[in-house]
């Protein structure tokens, strides 16, 4: 199976390559934002209100200092976008990470031990899934902000957002991993190590975990896209990142107020970047999903 996998990896379609490269480029650029961005938009002393709403450099009134123009505060839009993408990706990635670790852990436990542990974990997951993602995230983010004044600050908001998104997403990992664990547990290699008498923890982590990671990878990729979107939606609704430390969603929210005023770039560029990022990740995730779905193998 691994052989066929690596063979298939060599046959990655061009579109997936491009999408992957695009997503990777955005992620790398975002990660390196402090190094490559022309300005530091989080430094309040670095921008000046006088420069507000300058159009992109390529338009007639463009200012050569600002490639993609400036926002309503005079921040360099390109820098704001790079930093914003960084925030979005960190939150999205953080949410995926937390959800994956929690979900995989609980899924393994539920699937391996079964019985009441399984029932308790999965029923709890069912309750969580009774709330739509966005509502739950809105609630968690909103409630956290109301309870802890600090929750809306630049330092804490990302953690709140990670929690708000992950609280719903872990169930998906748990369900998948639980199902896969049940399948793997019944397979002979696991029975073999059980006969040997290895402790459960070791069986789960060393033997089962590596074999259930395939679907987890797929979910994680697709969820990264979804998490970035959820974060954007929360920020758009005003319970996301503060404007002093904007994510892409915050930038779009701010820009949205300028949609009709001719200052189109403030909304357009961040929205474009967000869509491209999510699209790139989604294309890769989609392809991975098909790759791991044995039924779809051997088809174009």
């Amino acid at each position: 199976m691994a052989a066929s996998l690596s063979r298939r990896l060599r046959r990655v379609p061009l579109s997936v390559w491009l999408a992957g490269l695009l997503a990777l480029a955005i992620i790398v650029a975002a990660a390196l934002a402090p190094l490559i961005a022309p300005f530091d938009p989080t430094d309040l002393t670095s921008f000046n209100l006088i420069d507000a709403e300058l159009p992109p450099r390529f338009s007639p009134d463009g200012d050569p200092r600002f490639l993609l123009g400036t926002d309503n505060q005079g921040r360099d839009l390109l820098s704001a976008m790079l930093y914003g993408a960084r925030v979005s990706i960190l939150i999205g990635g953080g949410a995926v990470m937390v959800a994956a670790v929690v979900g995989v852990g609980l899924g393994l436990i539920a699937g391996y031990f079964g019985g009441w542990v399984d029932a308790a974990i999965m029923r709890f997951g069912d309750v969580i899934l009774s709330f739509p993602t966005i509502l739950l995230a809105l609630l968690v983010a909103g409630v956290a902000r109301m309870l802890f004044p600090a929750a809306s600050s630049a330092e804490w908001a990302p953690f709140i957002l990670v929690g708000a998104i992950a609280i719903h997403e872990w169930v998906q990992y748990a369900r998948t991993v639980r199902a896969a664990t049940m399948v793997e547990s019944a397979r002979d290699y696991v029975r073999a190590v059980k006969v040997i008498g290895l402790p459960s923890r070791q069986i789960m982590l060393r033997h089962i975990l590596p074999n259930v990671m395939g679907p987890v990878l797929v979910i994680a990729t697709i969820n990264l896209a979804a998490a970035v979107l959820t974060e954007a939606t929360l920020s758009f609704l005003g319970v996301g990142m503060p404007p002093t430390y904007p994510s892409l969603g915050t930038l779009i929210r701010i820009g949205n107020e300028f949609v009709f005023s001719g200052v189109w770039w403030i909304a357009l560029f961040p929205a474009l970047l967000l869509v491209l990022l999510v699209l790139g990740v989604n294309i890769v995730g989609d392809w991975l999903r098909d790759l791991f779905n044995p039924k779809l193998r051997g088809r174009g």
Binding site: R123, T133, L229, F236, L279, N282, N293, L296
Partner: protein, 322 residues
Amino acid sequence: MLALLIARLGQAVLVMLAVSAVAFGMFRFVGDPVSALSRENATVEEKQELREALGLERPVLVQYAGFLGRIVQGDFGISYRNQRPVAALIAERLPATLELVLVATVLSLALGIPLGVLCALKPDGIAARLVQAVSLIGISTPTFVTGIVLILTFAVTLGLLPSFGRGETVQIGPWSTGLLTLSGLKALILPSITLALYQLTLIMRLVRSELIDVLSSDYIRFARARGLSTRHIHFTLALRNALMPVITVTGLQIGSLIAFAIVTETVFQWPGMGLLFIQAVSFSDVPVMAAYLLFVGLLFVLINTAVDLLYALVDPRLRVRS
């Protein structure tokens, strides 16, 4: 079937208890209705008086017991902001949201299933590739961006469709419907497309992958070996199998749509429950927020239970063995 029903109802009660706890938590700990209620230059004494009138000084458990007792009787309290029973407010908004969600669901099924079939049957065709590509863009674009783009295009630039609201509605008993007037129908187009887009993509992709799965199954191979027409195999046999999970997903998605309607309703000023909720949030109108939560939770639970039971009815394997 009975066991399933009982299990599902038990789960539903569990969920509703969790929801009510959250709702109460919000009621008690979130926001401060006092300052939302008092006027701009209210005195300290006025505010304290209000606090006592609202019962915010009583012990938490007493408040929770009271809360549970009231919601069981269908009394969700009075909106701080509108001074009207919350139940009535929600009932008034329900039609708008449900019609929007319903149309969006129908739209996503009506388009999602055929497109999914297309992509599964001709995975290498130009049309399928195009649909796949567009669908990826569809799930990669945030709802609010889609809504704004649609408004800019069809309302502002082309002037074809209204940019907000429900248009004219007709009152049928307690239900106000926008489905019976031209302006109501026109007003539905943009919001329902915005809302449906994500689900459409989801259903399309689900149908595609399920159908591909089913088409490679033994019983389809056997059906081919029996010389049945390809048409019959694809559309009567395989599609039916492939649509089974669509039932579940559609059910789950209806719940999500109700929640996602918050965003759509905000963008299109659609006077539904989502807008009510967002308004309530910005006014700290806790009774409305709590009732919305309970209501959406209940709706979600009901839909899920109904879907499970429906699934059991549709799938012969889950029916009672006589």
